[in-house]
């Protein structure tokens, strides 16, 4: 088993490397540059700027310098936010985004799995129909529609919660964003758990467990849950991706100082280093999630370990 994991880890590093390389060259080869949008500058100043940011060097040299800096954890300076390096920007925003995203992920799992299980156990009941309906809504309606609508109801109409803003350590500002971010993965997880549980409950080994006179909670907990959750495990990486893309929107609507807005702003501002840094960050997270999912898969189904 450790060998399998190491093999996957070994495959992940070149993948990341390829992503970094491809991204780097794509940005450099694109027409235009980060300073085009500003008022036309006199050529000498332009030349100075270019040289200060190393843009006048041949691409290969820039690439080498970038890699070297990267190995020290230095993502370079932001071309747009002149006073900050990308690393600093990331360090500022990451905690907020992480907090938001991990709460959403945790809630989605903590609510989705029991809800899906209950729906499967009480087929055709109110719980079942309720869970399925909730799932349809959560899957269909995106966060950027849910959050403003929630804000309208709970913020503008009822004045219960703030619509936007941020205070470090405060919970109120996080409530609506977290709800909006949690709903889509929660919906998928509920649906997947329900489906997986329904299918597992029809298996012969569940019949054996019941025939042994085991109480339902043991049959579900020890015998049914792990195979039922295999589809959920397969969804974890897309769930993280969904939360990541959702956070882009949620952070900008709710005015949360996270890392998501940098990606969008960076794109709009042609801020190479920022976008590059963000891409590397997000890719690493996704690849890491892929590894975690593989491990999870092996734990859920022992037969995979020996494959």
């Amino acid at each position: 088993m450790p060998r399998y994991f190491l093999k996957r880890l070994g495959a992940a590093i070149p993948t990341l490397f390829i992503i970094v390389t491809l991204s780097f060259f794509l940005t450099r080869l694109a027409p235009g540059g980060p300073f085009d949008e500003e008022r036309a500058l006199p050529p000498e100043i332009m030349a100075n700027l270019q040289s200060a940011y190393g843009l006048d060097q041949p691409v290969w040299v820039q690439y080498g310098r970038y890699l070297r800096a990267l190995s020290h954890g230095d993502f370079g300076p932001s071309f747009r936010y002149k006073d900050f390096t990308v690393s600093e920007l990331i360090a500022q925003g990451l905690p907020v985004t992480l907090e938001l995203g991990s709460i959403a992920m945790a809630l989605a799992l903590a609510i989705g799995i029991p809800l899906g299980t209950l729906a499967a156990l009480h087929r055709h009941s109110a719980t079942d129909y309720g869970a399925v309906s909730l799932a349809v809504l959560g899957i269909a309606i995106p966060s950027f529609v849910v959050l403003p609508l929630l804000g309208l109801v709970f913020g503008v109409a009822l004045h219960w919660l703030p619509v936007a803003g941020w205070e470090p350590g405060s919970v109120r500002y996080l409530v609506l964003p977290v709800i909006a971010l949690t709903l889509p993965p929660l919906a998928y997880i509920t649906r997947l758990t329900r489906g997986g549980m329904l299918e597992t409950l029809g298996s012969p080994f569940i019949r054996t467990a019941l025939a042994k006179g085991l109480p339902l909670r043991t049959v579900i907990g020890r015998h049914a849950l792990r195979p039922a959750l295999v589809p959920v495990a397969g969804y974890l990486a897309p769930a993280v991706a969904s939360i990541m893309t959702g956070s882009l929107v949620v952070e900008s609507i709710a005015g949360l100082p996270g890392v998501g807005r940098y990606l969008v702003q960076g794109a709009l501002n042609r801020d190479y280093t920022l976008v590059l840094g963000m891409v590397i960050l997000y890719s690493s997270v996704l690849i890491g999630m892929g590894l975690v999912v593989d491990l999870l898969h092996a734990w859920l189904d022992p037969r995979v370990r020996f494959a």
């Binding site: 992503i19 235009g32 529609v145 609508l149 804000g151 969008v264 709009l268 997000y282």
Partner: protein, 283 residues
Amino acid sequence: MSATLWRGAAARVRANSAALAAIGVLAILVALALAAPALNPNSVETLDWSRVAYAPGLSHAHWFGTDRLGRDLFVRTFEGARTSMAVGLVAGAVSLSLGLGFGAVAGYLGGRTDYLMMRVIEILSGLPLVFFVIFLTVIFGRNGYVLYASVVAVGWLAMARIVRGQTLSIRRREFIEAAVAGGAGSVRVIWKHVVPNVLGPVAVYATLMVPQIILFESFLSFLGLGTQEPHASLGTLIAEGAGEMEAAPWILLAPGIFLALLLVSLNVLGDGLRDAFDVREPG
């Protein structure tokens, strides 16, 4: 596809009340969006400076109110709706054809061709599309072509996978072998035999693909990377509305509710079709 299969599926859809309701809602939404210009003569671009950020009301000319620039929201909402739906259909059709072609070829030819084509799909499926689009925006700036290319990309990957799976499963059947033995070339076989037989699951996934495309376009537009001024799509309208939530909450309401209803009913319909055809994901 046998006629009995279609009839059985149609019966199941008819019995599915949720799917029927979804069809009804969709019909209403489409009708509204198409009929809107006839119902309200206000133009999309007219800036009514006398009534900026006006609250909605049936008594005056602006039924849904106006936005910050005095533009009538009724007209803008349904223009946005038309844009979003048009993108969904057009990009959907392109995605469908691309995915159908790619998947059928990969599934039919098999072997190394299939392997290579599937690797391509896997690599492209890796990173979430949004980041790719953002990336392209960094390179090319805000560009309509980028938007539409990426919107198409949302759908065709999954479609290609489905079609390939279906093709693989029918490839071995006798009528295919008979056609090949009869001297038909690969293209002909694919076109005349493979394609008609995968249409069932394809129809189902096409219905599920359209809301994904609409969602993606709305999402990009919301972020400012999609449809540009003065055109409106539901995404841009929602973005506008979100920004004005406290001052002018009505700007958000109509496009938000319309988009929500559109997406939910398309999804419910797609799920209903999937249950009716009892389509299972291959493999």
